[in-house]
Symmetry: C2
């Protein structure tokens, strides 16, 4: 029997890559489902055969690789039903007063309206409801059949509505071969989803919030901070101290700041040359030993960092994925630049840069070592809110709940205001970009042409003594044509970096509603503690622990905010300097060119 | 019986000037027809009474001050019927072989389709038909009842479709009191009739061709060059020699070049304060004695120059007339600037500047002297093509007809090409003006605001050590706001002069089809000479005279073209220098401002 499939999204085939272009709504015939790597072979109505990304299509019959589905969400919480559902794959001991927390069964998706109706503005959600602003657009994509099995791309469904290729069973054996590189995005300088002639989508900002993956199963989108607040387990993993610094609570900064260089993108191939990919060379300044990583390796790192630190530290998204044009030089260069930006930001973070998983990414010794490290990272139990259990405020007094709440509110207000400011600047910058690369140089060119045209008319006069003027006029015309080109090229020299920096910050700021949301939820939990004590659900000692842990969370947030502030001041100082320096050069060069053009006219 | 009138054009009353605003299509009642000065008193349907310009309305009954009308045109020519009709009020002896030239009867308007279908492009007309490109939009406005009576504004119906105020009988007694100032135009920086977001109408160019007034009666729009070619009369008036110069035939240039300063506009009033007007002070550099003139005095001068020299020398139109806003400072300043430009151009012309009528205008001794001079000028018989009778090529060999024709064609090609080039530059300049004063500064302002906004967000962070960045960011923001203002104001400092110069040239070039047309018509006449000799209509000696005179006309045209070229080279050199100098200053100032803004950021 022929297997038919419905095309869900447009997919443009990469030339010379055995792919097949398909259009949304089209019906195709599956010719080989066993290609692997997220690809299947299909035939279109014209009889053309080629590879298409598995999750760009919907197969019309029961699919062997999906299971589970829309089972009713499990209420695991003894708190208010609108509170996030605690869940974890790690055997964390959660206080189980009366309603026991059922061990998580993967394949259940949490689709209650309460949890999916987060709306578009993450900031608003946080305001309206203390349950935090986790987005879970992947909730409708049930996945995974084996309990405890990690599907490393399960968290990665994009904010752009295009899922990445499905990673089928058996992927573990060929774990780096999935085509994660291949999710389409608007990329480049296209309009962002913000529309309204607005900000361009410049990566580091795909989707406006990170997805805090608090457990490893996609069936549950949220994990409440009570997991940590009431945890009886001793903290596992490296301690993360918070010190009292000049500006307030700060992370422990290393003496030597790590950095790395992302460079030298190279095309590789696999599946016996059937599929191609791009590998980037990542060289840490510490070892100076280059390691090669594909986009999806970065993505794996991102997932690990999000899982492990996302509740405490905003982990900015990676630059957008893209299918079409992903082998074009311009795109590769842009992605590399953005991966560099992302890596630099990660390197600068004292907690992230010193983490085992990050170090693993930067130091590839051999395949065996790497695979071991990879599996270890995936089995890390101190993830989600449990990261707070490793945070240790050193010499800092416990904060009362009012202080905790005030700090949290302050950070929320600030990040929200900055988010608005950054988006505003991006919108204006984008308009300016369009003007500088579009109508403005065209106009200078037309002015230049008009001068040259007048010059050639003058030349035709037959009048003697015309040459000095016509030469000068032609030169002036050419000068304006040169200016036209300078104007058109200038944004790449200055505005580009201003835009990239602001885009990075847009991405980073988009993570804050989630990060702050975890804290806000914790505060709400602590506020309920009295009631829970009264109801006998927790002990007075539990309540004290909760309060102390909320204080620890606040110190963590404060340290993170101070890190954010100092980086922000550094980044904006640097980018503004760079911008203005280039602007000065630009205007000086125009003045110089015009001065020369002026000198060619006869002095009278 | 009540006299009703239909309003033909919108007229906006000048506040405090006893005027009444009227709208096209409105019916008004005439309350006093004897106001004079081109004004009548009328009442609108609301009962409001005020003065309206006489020719903005059409009185519903027979008007006492109009006569004549659409009588059939008189064929006065013994040449082909499509040739211009010779006519003159001066008693010039024209060869009258068989068909006698009937003395001109004023009040007849020449409205034959051949003569009115000149279309919009004066250049095309010249190409298609040797009858010249005279426009005669005033042909439908019969005027004047007394033979030989001069109505000095008869030639002045504008190219903008708004007639000027009618000058009724008895005007001679109060000859300076007509409100010629008062014809509406688009003025200022409004869109020109060219439409298409195109060139702005910047005066010196109202209508694209001058109206060569070859006789003093409006009933006849044209006078053929045969009037001169076959004239038996000895030349009257000052001789105008043409010499052989370095660049070819040239006018006799004076040792000292006349110039004058138009300044100090003052508001005056008349009709016992009922009407106001603006007087400009004109000070010639020769006498340094200021004389005062109203716009209509300039207009009178223009008419005289056009009448006297228009066949040989393109006389550019005056800056546009205007009714609404004519007492606004901006308008007065602009008109003054343009009158200055016009006067400077007239002063620079050796023939015009040394003419009696021009000298009269610059030297007002007393009222009596002035009136005498004025009447003398109006009675000048050496007008129209007869001006060629005063031109004397000195030491220049007679040109044959082929040479004459080649020169004429060459000038026509050049002026047409330059006309295109100038219009092109004006269109582009106008678009640039709009961009520089509209969207561009708005964008810089928004960039400035975005920086300042981000700065104030940063200030709210509560983070220590923020001040250096926020101060610098605010300063950068303010710098961009200053740049916005500079950008918006810059066109007035540079583009303005480039536009004004090109507009002047547009006006001047618009006169060439008429000027060249006279020559072209003369060439055609000479070509017909053989036939006329054969037919016995002229003698062989007449033919020789015609040919010699065509040669004289050609020398005149060549001298004029050489004058035009040398002025053009001077003007474009000067305006380009000025433009580029200001542009250099502009970009240097921006660079300097940005350099300062840059220095405020912390060096890292």
């Amino acid at each position: 029997m022929e297997t038919k499939a419905q095309v869900l999204y447009d997919f443009a085939a990469e030339p010379g890559n055995n792919e097949l272009s398909i259009r949304e709504g089209e019906t195709i015939t599956i010719t080989n489902q066993n290609i692997g790597g997220g690809w299947i072979e299909a035939k279109n109505s014209k009889g053309e055969v080629g590879l298409v990304p598995e999750d760009y299509i919907e197969i019309n019959q029961a699919q062997p690789f999906t299971s589970g589905g829309n089972a009713a969400p499990l209420d695991l919480s003894f708190f208010d039903s609108h509170m996030p559902t605690p869940a974890s794959t790690a055997q964390v001991d959660v206080a189980q007063p009366e309603t026991p927390v059922t061990p998580v069964t993967p394949g259940f998706s949490s689709t209650s309206p309460d949890e999916t109706s987060n709306g578009n503005d993450p900031w608003t959600v946080f305001d309206n409801n203390a349950s935090g602003g986790f987005s879970n657009n992947w909730a409708a994509q049930p996945e995974g059949t084996e309990t405890g099995k990690t599907s490393s791309n399960a968290w990665h469904s994009g904010g752009h509505g295009h899922p990445q290729a499905y990673q089928g069973p058996g992927a573990e054996d060929d774990e780096w071969d999935e085509e994660w590189d291949d999710v389409k995005s608007s990329g480049g300088y296209a309009e962002s989803e913000a529309g309204e002639g607005g900000a361009i989508n410049r990566g580091g900002a795909h989707g406006s919030s990170m997805k805090i993956a608090l457990n490893k199963f996609p069936g549950f989108s949220k994990s409440g901070p009570e997991l940590y607040l009431l945890s009886k387990q001793p903290a596992k993993g490296t301690k993360l101290p918070v010190y009292s610094g000049e500006v307030g609570p700060v992370w422990a900064y290393p003496d030597y700041q790590l950095d790395c260089v992302v460079a030298d993108p190279k095309k590789g191939s696999k599946l016996y040359g059937l599929k191609s990919y791009i590998e980037y060379q990542v060289t840490p300044t510490t070892t100076n030993k280059p390691v090669n990583h594909r986009y999806k390796h970065f993505d794996w790192l991102y997932e690990r960092l999000l899982e492990k630190f996302g509740s405490a530290i905003p982990i900015p998204c990676l630059p957008d994925k893209q299918v079409a044009g992903r082998f074009e030089d311009e795109f590769i260069k842009m992605r590399m630049e953005r991966l560099q930006g992302w890596m630099t930001r990660m390197c600068r973070h004292p907690v992230i840069s010193s983490s085992e998983v990050f170090q693993l990414f930067l130091s590839y010794k051999d395949e065996k070592d790497w695979k071991m490290g990879k599996r270890k990272a995936e089995k890390d139990e101190t993830v989600g809110v449990m990261v707070f259990s490793t945070i240790e405020p050193e010499g800092l007094p416990d904060l009362d709940l009012i202080e905790v709440e005030q700090k949290c509110e302050q950070f929320n207000r600030f990040t929200r205001a900055m988010d608005d400011g950054v988006k505003d600047l991006l919108t204006i910058g984008n308009e300016h970009w369009k003007r500088c690369t579009g109508p403005l140089p065209k106009e200078y060119q037309r002015i230049g042409k008009a001068f040259q045209n007048l010059s050639s008319v003058f030349t035709s006069s037959g009048y003697e003594g015309e040459a000095a003027l016509t030469d000068a006029l032609t030169a002036a015309g050419k000068t304006y044509e040169e200016i036209a080109q300078m104007v058109a090229e200038q944004p790449k020299k200055d505005l580009h970096f201003l835009m990239e920096t602001n885009n990075e910050y847009k991405g980073l700021l988009g993570c804050f509603p989630d990060t702050v949301g975890v804290h806000k939820a914790a505060i709400e939990k602590v506020k309920e503690a009295d009631k829970l004590v009264a109801a006998g659900k927790i002990t007075p000692s539990d309540k004290t622990t909760m309060s102390k842990r909320a204080s620890t969370m606040s110190y963590s947030l404060q340290a993170e905010m101070n890190h954010f502030h100092s980086n922000r001041i550094y980044d904006y100082n640097r980018v503004m300097q760079q911008y203005l320096e280039q602007q000065v050069k630009f205007y000086e060069m125009i003045a110089e060119k015009l001065r020369h053009a002026h000198s060619r006219f006869t002095t009278m």
